[in-house]
């Protein structure tokens, strides 16, 4: 929890610091725990309900850890026009990789696209997508 205090302290004096703090906490711990909510609320003079409300509103924050690697697959209209729905049907549940839906990565002329961490992938087909999932799974296992 020392690290959590440091994160909160690093944003002291910032205007509207809640989202930047939550991003840092999410990046550090992989989720925003009940305890983190309590500490952040106390530090910012907010109620826990207010902080919880923000955590639950945004898709990027989660309140429980999920050890799986995340692959964000774009399923918005431009990727639909390029056949992402057929790809998405073919994805099986994977124990170490979670394939999440995202609406638009801004690569709409070369879809279907996916984002893993900060790495973007375009022109996906079934084989490329499967290879991507396998590579992510190997990273998690390592």
């Amino acid at each position: 929890m020392e690290r959590l205090k440091e994160i909160i302290a690093a944003h002291a004096g910032q205007e509207g610091p809640l989202l930047p703090i939550l991003h840092d906490v999410q990046a550090e711990y992989g989720h925003v725990s009940e305890e983190a909510v309590r500490m952040i609320a106390a530090a910012l003079n907010l109620s826990r309900a207010e902080v919880h409300g923000v955590v639950s509103f945004y898709h990027d924050f989660r309140d429980e850890p999920d050890g799986r690697a995340v692959l964000k697959l774009c399923r918005a209209e431009a990727c639909q026009a390029r056949g992402v729905e057929a790809l998405a049907q073919g994805i099986a549940e994977h124990p170490r990789v979670k394939v999440e839906t995202v609406y638009c990565l801004g690569l709409c002329s070369v879809g279907p696209n996916a984002l893993a961490g900060a790495k973007v992938h375009a022109r996906l087909d079934a084989a490329k997508l499967a290879a991507l999932v396998d590579a992510l799974a190997a990273e998690v296992a390592a």
Partner: protein
């Protein structure tokens, strides 16, 4: 040594630009990483002495250097896709290293800010008013009027907020500005701050754009001394589409749930932290340096009707030549899709074209005569939005697209107003029934004797479609913001233009 220029735009990276760049470096070339030309079907595109080669794979490098490559596309500047454009915002695209202050200054950077400082805040606003620049985020509100309101508001602290929460599918121009020419956006914000008397600016970038976030943050640090005393800060969204709506974005910046605020009060008077705030889209702010450097009149001379200047149009989806096409307003939809875009990537006939992102209408080729202009599209029951165009071929199922529009609204609704929050979910259910041609029998609650106003008989397909139209009407006029208010555009346009996908024949039979 041969100088090779390759884009480091996220789209080029996604297509494998790093691997191609490494192959050129290994072959002894000097590799310069620049912004993207916007010819996306050619990425990764390499430029050597003005000549272009793409789309490249690492194994193509030897042939390119040996002069035998089959992927040569000739001089990039003469390529029809580039030669037909009129680039104001993307004047530097493909030519400069995004984070080089030297390159930016050498290609006309900071001239607008210098002129704004020279002529003073009032004359700066006059230039913007004169230019006729309208908000590029979708609403098309005149930027000069917004700025005037903020400038006249008396307050000790004012803000400039750049809306870089570009969530619409088929749009990527904001991302390309931030990744390819970040100093341009910074210059535009500094001019706005100078004009209205703001001390602080925020760039609110969506979290789905990690490369843009990194680039903008680095550019803000590198140029801090040039825009001082104006201060800039990059903020990152958290995956909420609705935060692209300006009041919801302000709530998010303040650290709240991204719920829409009722207007009035206008953000221009009571915006971020209750202070007068300019909220403009990336493309609006990025248009400003050119206007100041060349004059508002020169800008207003380009365009069509009341839509002045240029618009970076984004060609996406199932299109052969996808990418960024900046041109003065007035070009027709058909020219964009067929001449510039080259038709579909799959080679099949174009069935539908969605203009303006997930909240934009689906047009058929019968609308290809429409000029790209805010008023012309509004008159045809459509909208330009952020100028994204998604092309679909004849395999598209338009009732499925209509269902997606409702499902998207349900997933992204902030929940504040009922037409959007509940209407979108009811819309999905309704379209599912229409797609299944199932009709709907009254449920157990509806048949209760005390439910006086509930319908007791089964609804036919035609009646279900009428109900969908009625629901869209409620959402259109009853929602607080454009998310719920514009979701009916794709739904109704799909219903109107592609009735056969909604079982129209069956519906007619049932009615007879």
């Amino acid at each position: 040594m041969t100088l090779v220029r390759i884009s480091e735009d996220a789209l080029a990276l996604a297509c494998g630009a790093d691997e191609v760049a490494a192959a050129f470096a290994a072959a002894g070339c000097t590799v310069e990483r620049v912004s993207s030309w916007g010819m996306h079907w050619l990425e990764p595109l390499a430029e050597i002495g003005g000549e272009g080669f793409g789309p490249l794979e690492p194994e193509d490098v030897a042939a390119v250097l040996g002069g035998t490559s089959s992927k040569a596309v000739g001089r990039i500047e003469d390529h029809p896709f580039i030669a037909r454009q009129q680039r104001f915002i993307f004047a530097r695209a493909g030519k400069t290293r995004p984070l080089s202050l030297e390159d930016y200054a050498a290609h006309g950077g900071w001239q607008g800010l210098a002129r704004a400082r020279e002529i003073g805040p009032e004359a700066t606003i006059d230039e913007v008013v004169q230019s006729g620049l309208r908000g590029r985020g979708g609403a098309g509100f005149p930027a000069g009027i917004k700025w005037t309101t903020v400038a006249r508001a008396a307050a000790s602290r004012k803000y400039i907020v750049c809306n870089a929460d570009e969530g619409d599918s088929a749009t990527f121009a904001d991302r390309m500005v931030m990744e390819g020419d970040p100093f341009l956006l910074i210059e535009g914000m500094a001019i706005a701050a100078h004009a209205v008397g703001a001390q602080k600016g925020f760039v609110y970038i969506r979290s789905e754009y990690p490369h843009a976030i990194t680039k903008m943050a680095a550019a803000v640090r590198a140029s801090a001394h040039l825009v001082a005393p104006f201060e800039l800060e990059v903020r990152v969204g958290a995956g909420a589409y609705v935060c692209g709506e300006e009041t919801s974005l302000l709530n998010s910046l303040e650290g709240r749930r991204g719920e829409v605020r009722a207007k009035p009060p206008l953000p221009a008077l009571e915006g971020l932290f209750g202070r007068p705030t300019v909220v403009n889209n990336v493309l609006t702010l990025a248009s400003v340096p050119w206007i100041l450097a060349h004059g508002g009149d020169a800008y207003a001379n380009v365009g069509f009707g009341r839509s002045k200047g240029t618009m970076p149009i984004q060609l996406a989806g199932n299109v052969k030549h996808g990418g960024l096409f900046e041109v003065g307003f007035g070009i027709t939809l058909g020219e964009l899709v067929n001449d510039v875009g080259g038709g579909t990537a799959s080679g099949r006939p174009v069935r539908a074209v969605q203009v303006g992102g997930p909240l934009g209408a689906y047009h058929t080729p019968a609308d290809f005569h429409l000029p790209f202009d805010y008023e012309a599209f509004a008159a045809a029951d459509g909208l330009i939005g952020h100028a994204g165009i998604t092309v679909f071929d004849d395999t598209a199922d338009m009732s499925a697209q209509a269902r997606f529009a409702m499902a998207f609204c349900a997933a992204e609704s902030c929940g504040k107003c009922t037409p959007c929050r509940i209407g979108s979910t009811r819309g999905v259910e309704l379209i599912d029934r229409i797609r299944a041609r199932s009709g709907r029998a009254p449920d157990r609650v509806e048949v209760l004797p005390q439910m006086h106003n509930a319908r007791k008989t089964e609804r036919s397909l035609a009646e279900e479609i009428a109900l969908l139209e009625d629901l869209c009407e409620t959402m259109k006029f009853g929602s607080l913001c454009a998310l719920g208010g514009f979701t009916p555009y794709p739904v109704l346009s799909a219903l109107r233009n592609f009735p056969q996908d909604f079982g129209a024949d069956g519906a007619r039979e049932a009615a007879e």
